[in-house]
Symmetry: C2
Subunit: 726 residues, 2 copies
Amino acid sequence: MATCDAVLQSLAKLSLSPRTVSHESVSDNKAWAAALASTKDAVFEMTKTLILKPKTAKTAAATPVVVIALESTETPVPALGKKLSLKDCRFANEELLQTTFGVNKDQVSPFALSNVADLSLVHLVVDSAILALPATTLLAFHPSAADKTVFVTVDQLKAYFKSISKDFVEIDFKAIATAAPAAAAASGSKPAAKPAPKKKAAAEIEASADEVHQMGIEAKKEVDFPKWYQQVLTKSEMLEYYDVSGCYILRPLAYNVWKEITNFFDAAITEMGVEDTYFPMFVSNRVLQREKDHIEGFAPEVAWVTKAGSADLEEPIAIRPTSETVMYPYFSKWIRSYRDLPFRINQWCSVVRWEFKNPQPFLRTREFLWQEGHTAHLTLEGADKEVREILDLYEQVYTDLLAVPVVKGVKSEKERFAGGYYTTTVEGFIPTTGRAIQGGTSHCLGQNFSKMFNIVIEDPSAPANATEEAKKLHVWQNSWGLSTRTIGVMVMIHSDDKGLVLPPRVALIQTVVVPCGLNVKTTKEESDDIYDRCQAVAARLKKTGLKSKADLRENYSPGFKFNHWEIRGVPLRLELGPMDIKKNQVTAVRRDTGAKFAIPLDNLEKGVRDALDTIQNDMFQKAKAKMDSSIVRINKWEDFVRTLNDKKLCLIPWCDRIACEDDIKERSARVATEGEEEDDRAPSMGAKSLCKPFVQPTENPIVPGVTKCIACDHDAKHFMLFGRSY
Amino acid sequence: MATCDAVLQSLAKLSLSPRTVSHESVSDNKAWAAALASTKDAVFEMTKTLILKPKTAKTAAATPVVVIALESTETPVPALGKKLSLKDCRFANEELLQTTFGVNKDQVSPFALSNVADLSLVHLVVDSAILALPATTLLAFHPSAADKTVFVTVDQLKAYFKSISKDFVEIDFKAIATAAPAAAAASGSKPAAKPAPKKKAAAEIEASADEVHQMGIEAKKEVDFPKWYQQVLTKSEMLEYYDVSGCYILRPLAYNVWKEITNFFDAAITEMGVEDTYFPMFVSNRVLQREKDHIEGFAPEVAWVTKAGSADLEEPIAIRPTSETVMYPYFSKWIRSYRDLPFRINQWCSVVRWEFKNPQPFLRTREFLWQEGHTAHLTLEGADKEVREILDLYEQVYTDLLAVPVVKGVKSEKERFAGGYYTTTVEGFIPTTGRAIQGGTSHCLGQNFSKMFNIVIEDPSAPANATEEAKKLHVWQNSWGLSTRTIGVMVMIHSDDKGLVLPPRVALIQTVVVPCGLNVKTTKEESDDIYDRCQAVAARLKKTGLKSKADLRENYSPGFKFNHWEIRGVPLRLELGPMDIKKNQVTAVRRDTGAKFAIPLDNLEKGVRDALDTIQNDMFQKAKAKMDSSIVRINKWEDFVRTLNDKKLCLIPWCDRIACEDDIKERSARVATEGEEEDDRAPSMGAKSLCKPFVQPTENPIVPGVTKCIACDHDAKHFMLFGRSY
């Protein structure tokens, strides 16, 4: 049997000593990628090994096909079968794996070939994309079990085949996939898709149920939320995984959400008098270290540039994790008088925080986009006012653009920004996991940084005979930031088992027009007429500023197109067929509810605009109702953990003490396993304080000296929102 | 005498062994910063040492003041004198420096104190900003000559004072500067400014000629262009120097230019069907290396992240210098069929190229902002068409927004983008230096990258019976980029000895309204009335979308305000005084020409808008006329270098051979010093080919086989533009 050791031994005979790593046992390739990504930054290509079985006479020996391909390569089984002239290729069953290859499905790797008695019966296929890689590229394989990974180079893989005297066939999967455009890709452990349907006489092909299934989201939101989230992001083409761990590609669908947020927020702060700037992404170590409390919060995650070209830098230079220490030395230079106040700048940029915890798209990434505002004020009152104005804008980004409800409030001392005076927050809520998420923070920094960076002016209200020292006034500062995390929150809340659901205000395409009702009897003229009308509808909408598109692709069925745009979250689909033409209407279908209704063509623009407004509003109201019903006022500790486990947040009378907060966290962890990673699959971490909501309950309020903290029985100061959180 | 060696010896006695570096002899602090910046990445604070002489009785001994301050600290001499109760402080003359300190003005440093016979006569002043630094911060001093720099820590400096038994006085210059807001800063070797004028009874102070001079640009554009450029950028508050060499802060005035460019260009490419994305800034080494020709062009300048927190990364990760190799592996995944073409994405981001040549704001920086478009097409024709469309948009950015003329054309083989097929360019021209500058490039990459990254589709026009290989079609690709370099070109062309001149379309403030004509006899009511009217004028303009501001600061004279806004490049100033009110008008003054004219208040909005349009147009026409007259058609080699020396560009019949281009460069270098840095101060480098202009001369055109290349006498193929360039 090709155990891991045996594999390594056989490779050692070839003078190969590949690196092997152990990790959690993984059940699919995404989990595998995550397991490898979280441990190391090694550069390698993920692979998959498929074992297929073509149909053979019952009495004949099986002639299995072993396919070794890049994980990213789509491997359409029917097309491959056709290409190899093998009949009715399907995934091999467990029995064949065991009897012929001596492995179970978690142990499938190229090295299982060592166990095959008669290799002449086996077809060995290698993805041309692997062979196109440089010879020294590392490939990752499971050598023998789901909890181990071995890295061998392309050359070593070839040497292995040579050592077992097995020739392979090179297959260009992209070419064979292109030959069958609607053919579905076979993924790791799924049954093979049916062969691609033949082109019909009419310009229409019905997508099979299988195809639609393969295109779609394979995980259910309520069952496997992490997998569902990954699939919604990638299959909607919002996001692509990237070969540097913790970094992701924002594709147009996602970037457009960020653009809409940028446009809204930048216009609002410009109106307030904030000016946009751009500071360098690099910070010298000396400057970074200047504010100790602050840097302690960030130091473990700072990325350092130490080389340029082939030369070592004299001193390492940091990439900004945030820009307080980058900017404030210059505030000290620029702010000379009370006339310079308020001094307000903002920048749109990316920052880097080299997290070592499991990365998660949008929520925890090593590089992310954000805006950071930094301002200085003459008085605390001036700073306070701005902190709230900005927080209100963050709330509007969530409620008005992303249709996401939030709770505004103040963070506890424990959760406050490192080096700041107080922190306000908008807290979001993901019902499926019952976890809260910090949506954006607006900090008052007080005078801590201005003292550290000597940002002073002469106090305009100081008496004329005061000493120089007495006249010196340290400015009051704020900083506030909102990041692309917003996008992740939006996706988690609204999307469903069919894929992405986008609020109309941030959708790259708001309506898509699909020609329908064509069949084999449709004449060319009729078909052309419908296509022209679809084009005209899209053009009319576009003219009034609605983001519209007509999907006029031929060779795709309406069903295929519906699915294509549903998974991508287009808020409103317009169908146009012969019956609609007869009635002078389009048939509209809402993405969020599936509701179907007619819009008269005479009222097209207004009808569509109203429908989009309704969708935007309904999406918000639905999420709001869910959040409201998930915030539970708790009056005794016994109900606290039960409510968390019920995927809800707890609003409690609280004493406002750090010791109590630590205690609550510890006592509310469902399974307090030492050192365990807190993630979606085990939402068992202790509850954190989320915020002291600005809006405190008026019914049955805190009575000073009477109402007690439900956790420790000290006097309660106010109501505090607690929950498990991201 | 405190020679460098003597200084080091005396420090060695204190067990100090500071690092000393030698460099070019420098005459001012900017040059000093540049000399230090270009050699090392050491982190240190620049300092200045001033020696002042208060007025004493003629017969009494001089009691000089030695001031040691951060270079960035403004050190107002009159305010300092007042603070120390010393009469009429001025900069010491050479005689005092020689007789008392034993140094000339290039040798002034704290260590000159070692040469003073009677230290009790000397006042020693240390900037509190130095004392606020961490004790181990390195300070840079000229120990004994302009071509050496010694680095000592704050602690070592204090130890030195102790070793010579000299106490010092700590002065907070910012506090004393704030006490006298309009007081001018004393800079290194300038005469002291007059004491700040006393506050007058009326709310107005006349700025003295001296103050205005100190606020203004000290270098003439035609005399010392590099210094002029630096001062225009910093004194206009467009840009601030930063403590990481080669990086600069873009302040709102500069960033707004970039925003206007972004808005214009992004709207145009969106209309074309290009979609915005964001790819990570990090690239793995493996991916970066994949295209060899391409990476060779960038490798020496790539910055590498090797550490995160305190942990070494397993493999260094590069910061993108450009994103071809970042993006194209994903193109290969995303582009599956001819239906996916054209595939067009763009991103707005910053890239890093760790240049080791002298950095120059906007023109050569280690981090810069840009957009990079990357597209794939079915045919070369499709790619060609887009290359030109994008180049036309780049031209419009220059001509329509920045009022800068450019020449469009194709780069020579030598100057083509690394790994590309052909490169088109918009070339700008800086008349003051006679140098051309590449303004933006639109590359056709051909199929080179698509072959390297396996970006293929099935050829839709291939015959059905063709082999898989024959059906495979590599896509045709383009990439195109425009950076913040645009801003530098704009500043160099339009600005003048008074400071920045901004084209109205990219100005953060287009008009400023200044109350005028107030004097000691003006009543409070009259004054309030004028201020209100100024405010109203600004509000009216703002309402129609014109970026306007009323400068209602009290305690500043109109002259001071004129100067303030002139240096910042505001295109149109509106003056409003009692005479204007009587005539129901504002008096408008153009920044570009200084021309003065009245605009009736009844016609305010249109009048201002027309004036701004005229300014925009005139600025372009003026620059265009200058460029046109600086492109000289050359018919014999003898005229070539003479024309370059005359600060012009040469349009020549050319053979289009690399060998000839190399030869031209060599033969046209005025002073061909081996290894010499090519920079503004020595515009003696050889000429490069700039482009083959799309518009070729029609008069006396190339006659194939007859017209010869003027450099080598081979047959000329076409006209080529040559010039010295940035």
